[in-house]
Amino acid sequence: MFEIDYGDDGEVMCSGRLDASQCAKAQSFMDEIADTRTLDFSGLEYISSAGLGILLKTQKRLAESGAALKITNVNNHIYDVFRYSGFNAIFDIKAKE
């Protein structure tokens, strides 16, 4: 199960498991983002390359207008996935404290 919605301060709250079966839901939400936005991953347990593809596609689109996604509260396992993928060089990522 994967959930995505805006939080009280305009950040994007993500929770659950972002796998290949949940990509359509994630992609349709991300397609509506038009400015710099923080994704709060405090509730996100898991991500695969399918989810990485959505993040990358959105980051490339936003970069054309000078905007960007920032990602915060990333758990250790997802942080490792980002690191293995080189995403720590193309996203502003903050690990969960």
Partner: protein, 133 residues
């Protein structure tokens, strides 16, 4: 334990639950469970994506031996696709040059300890092992 799954992304939850049942019963920690789930998804979705002309189910076997978890995914009536020979991904490329293609197999090769591929009589079999500690 062995189970068959429909060749569909919607099988991922059932695969996750199948693996969790076995890994939890064997007290396998999260440090191994996460990469095992990730490797299983990357291999399963790769099979679904690159063999669209067959509707054969995909078999999943999970064996826990001490600290090692070995998973085998098997599919029939498919062309050869050696996941151990996937082209490398330039993870240092700037954003404008990055594409999502190939990231799944790149991740796979980074998170498992052993990875084997076998192809015979149109049967494709991938075996990976992940060890704790």
């Amino acid at each position: 334990m062995h189970r068959q799954f429909a060749r569909d992304y919607d099988s991922l939850t059932a695969i996750y639950e199948f693996a969790e049942e076995i890994l939890a019963a064997n007290e396998i920690g999260e440090a191994v469970r996460f990469p095992v789930h990730l490797a299983m998804e990357e291999l399963f979705t790769n099979m679904v994506k690159y063999s669209p002309d067959t509707d054969s189910e995909i078999g999943v076997d999970i064996v826990v031996d001490g600290r090692a978890v070995t998973v085998t995914l098997t599919e029939d009536d498919v062309d050869e696709f050696d996941v151990t020979q996937a082209p490398d991904v330039d993870i240092g490329a700037p954003l404008a040059e990055r594409t999502p293609g190939g990231l799944g197999l790149h991740l796979l090769q980074n998170i498992v300890d052993e990875l084997e591929y076998d192809y015979h009589n149109r049967r494709s079999r991938v075996i990976f092992t992940k060890e704790s500690g």
